[in-house]
Amino acid sequence: MAALSTEVLVIGGGATGAGVAWDAALRGFRVVLADRADLCEGTSGRFHGLLHSGGRYVVKDPRAAEECIAENRILREVSADCIEDTGGLFVTTPSDDEAYADRFAEGCRATGVDCEEVDPAEVLREEPRLHPGISRAFRVPDANIDAWKTVWALARGAHARGGARILPYHAVVGVHRRGDQVTGARVRDVRTGDELDVEACVTVNATGAWAGKVAELAGIEGVRVLPGRGIMIAMNHRLVNTVVNRCQMPTDGDILVPIRTVSVMGTTDVQTDDPDDHTVAQDEVDAMLEDGERLVPGFRQARALRVWTGVRPLFQDTKEDVASTRDVTRSHTLLDHAERDGVGGFVTITGGKLTTFRLMAEEAVDAVCRQLGEERPCTTRTERLRGSEEGEHYHLGERLGRREAGLHDDQLVCECELITRERLEESMRRRGTANLDDFRRVLRLGMGPCQGGFCIYRATGIMHALRGDPSGATPRGDGLTAEQANDALLGFLRERWKGVWPILYGDQLRQARLDDWIFQGVLDVGHLER
């Protein structure tokens, strides 16, 4: 049995876990981070991309609002490159209670969320797709944040600054206890089956919606996390360039977030038992389309690309009972199990939202320090992430500008998302994975309107050419077989279909049938030799 010894083992590679790794590494700890899948594939990879101003919570959950605005300001500095400063709006549509607007304004004042009332006519000039019947409007500092960029910047930063070992595709199969002390965990590489024991002084359970399950592995009961499943729909282009919220108590389908080349409509909240529940219910989809029309008339004629679900981790103190998961606090929860359960070497950080990941990580690493009897101050409030050193925010035009600057240098593999061959090959060389979805996540390969129709055959062919040359003359020379390449291609098509079929209508159905023409017709991948 292979073994690793470290100081802090972080289980969970979403924003919180990666944030813990970064924070701990900056504080001089040796860190190992493990996630059962690719980094940022859990809830962090499945949200709508909103960097909250806190406006959403000013009436319902003021503490969450205060945390949000504070973190919003910090993240704009330290992870500037991961954030696009779209600004945000809260608007009262004809479907909303007019009286809420004043409560909203007062709530912003009380919680310190920057808020400025603006003339609806001005808003409609800026965002002509919005409902013309808007009666009130407020500007807030919402923005969008690219979760993958952020998580990878955190993970790479932890590695660069503190030698952290980052282990995606390593599932925790057991948590080690010695008496009332957690001493680490056993992880299994799901790709190879190899197992590895990681010995750690403190283990941080940053698995979000799965926190209860991991705590159970450590023999700790009563960590009750209610998964709240919500759907989100990516619309093919930016219907708006500002984050738009309905000005009302938080409810379903009340946010439209422009992020990268799409606008994301969300979300719903359905209590489920299983954090891996990715059911997309038809009635939720239909309701979301209706909600879309309330904000943007003609929403139904716009093109929906894909629907997916994210599972919120909603921690519920077992002493209380709540009817709907939406009523559970959206503020996060830190469980120092040494204090709570008498089990040392184990800390759980759960709940919260992506906007507050840094704060959650800070609290978690503070708890780690306490358990170890160390005083090491947190520096993540000011320490800039890799790529954000200049403090420049992301602009949507970046990829296009880069492409225009290098128009004659290289070919585009994924045209929708402007990914060049060099960029793809570099990524393929760097990551040993043969799973095209891994590249989809970091590069947005196949995430545009054609959903891989034109680029996935290319990407598979390129991957095989790069790594499948039997002469071994290629950089990796790990002899990627045709079967593996085929599996990558077919796997991508299957995975993509999961998010496409529940929302398939209109232009996207036409696209899907054209893609079928190419894959099942011209290429005949359905008959690839198994």
């Binding site: 282009h237 949507l396 296009l400 054609c450 232009d507």
Partner: protein, 423 residues
């Protein structure tokens, strides 16, 4: 109002399924890597454009605006229109060069050049002066520039009195006819009158298309709305508006409304509904059995090229059907996309070579057709064709005029070389 329409035009990008059909048809991207193609510049790049952020592009400037992409797109993406918006934003940011401001105003140039036509024409044909022009202004020294006629069509129109008839039609002649080819206008009027129309020729000016193509949207709007006002009054009385310049009639029919965001203007809407290409109108007459078919033989082999902006009318090729009625006339339909000139695009120094490469296929087909004459509905295309093939070119209406054996236009000095067909 403009913004909502722009958003909906922009929204047509949703129909793009990346099928590449537009790329196969684009005459520019097929001959130069400077333009990555309509799919890239239109629906694809549009997803990256944010209204109030500066343009990060340069390649969309190489789109010629021919509109073939929109025509062939089976999904209904308004590709050329999206490109036009992006190009305009780019030009506003970088500043529109003096050259573009000048060549976008053919009416102004026409008024300046007409009184001094012999001198102006000599200058435009002087190699040294053209070389200087290329350096100073950026108009390619070999670009096909027209000759000033030395007289205006409207001067003739002022003296001409159209015989009264039950049917009336309003003639929109365009700048090409006005300053460079007035005899084409005279022939057009004659053919219409021969078919029983009383032809009214109101005072009129440029449709603004070259201004639009060069990103000067505000000026383009002024021109086209002024033209719409001039024509609308007559159209309201039930008359149809007919033109021989297919690019200009397309501007009135739809481009101004779509690209300049003027769909809400009631006079322009009326005008656009009433505007006909002259061949389109005559073919409809023929369909009703009302076309004068007293054609005499014209023994000639003619190659016909439908300009891209004629195809943009979406009416097929009515000129072909009309020419087929002329006995003795052997018409060879050319199957090339574009002559390359695209209005003012091909005369620009940095685009001339691209335009000539784009038109090369057409030029080759013309040569292979062994036709003695090329018929084509757009004057800028005719000048490009003559430049690229050294063969004479005529508007289809001129062939009909000849077949009808109508009298030669007024006895003024010929404005074009003698290669034009007689009568």
């Amino acid at each position: 109002m403009t913004d909502v329409l722009h958003e909906l035009l922009r929204g047509s990008l949703d129909h793009c399924v990346k099928c590449t059909i537009c790329e196969t048809a684009c005459p520019v991207s097929n001959v130069t890597p400077l333009f990555p193609g309509p799919k890239y510049a239109g629906p694809q790049a549009e997803r990256y454009r944010v209204g109030d952020e500066p343009s990060v592009e340069w390649s969309v400037d190489y789109c010629s605006g021919c509109g073939i992409c929109t025509q062939v797109c089976p999904q209904g993406v308004e590709i050329a229109e999206i490109n036009a918006q992006a190009r305009r934003k780019l030009k506003q940011q970088k500043g529109v060069p003096l050259r573009d401001r000048l060549i976008a105003r053919p009416a102004v140039l026409g008024r300046l050049g007409t009184p001094v036509a012999p001198l102006a024409n000599a200058s435009l044909r002087s190699k040294p002066l053209r070389a200087v022009g290329e350096r100073l202004l950026g108009v390619h020294r070999e670009a096909p520039l027209p000759r000033f006629a030395g007289r205006t069509f409207s001067a003739w129109a002022g003296r001409h009195s159209s015989p009264a008839a039950a049917r009336r039609v309003v003639y929109f002649h365009g700048c090409g006819t006005q300053y460079y080819e007035p005899e084409v206008g005279e022939k057009t009027v004659a053919v219409l009158e021969h078919n029983g129309y009383q032809v009214e020729i109101p005072k009129q000016d440029c449709c603004g298309l070259p201004l639009q193509s060069n990103g000067l949207f505000d000026d383009a709007r002024k021109y086209v709305l002024r033209l719409a006002r001039a024509l609308a009054g007559h159209a309201r009385d039930g008359a149809l508006i007919v033109g021989n310049a297919t690019s200009c009639t397309l501007m009135l029919k739809r481009e101004a409304r779509e690209i300049l965001g003027l769909a809400g203007d009631p006079e322009l809407k009326l005008v656009s509904e009433r505007t006909y290409d002259v061949c389109e109108l005559l073919l409809e007459l023929h369909d009703r059995g009302e076309l004068a078919t007293d054609f005499q033989p014209v023994e000639e082999v003619v190659a016909y090229h439908a300009p891209c902006q004629q195809q943009g009318h979406w009416i097929g090729k009515p000129a072909l059907e009309l020419l087929a009625l002329v006995p003795g006339l052997e018409v060879r339909e050319l199957n090339a996309r574009c002559c390359g000139i695209a209005g003012t695009y091909g005369i620009k120094r940095e685009k001339y070579d691209i335009a000539m490469a784009a038109g090369a296929d057409l030029f080759e087909q013309i040569r292979a057709s062994q036709a003695g004459l090329v018929a084509c509905d757009s004057e800028t295309c005719r000048w490009q064709i003559e430049h690229g093939t050294r063969k004479p070119s005529a508007h289809p209406i001129e062939l009909l005029h000849r077949a009808y054996r109508l009298p030669r236009p007024a006895a003024f000095p010929p404005s074009q070389p003698d290669a034009r067909p007689a009568g």
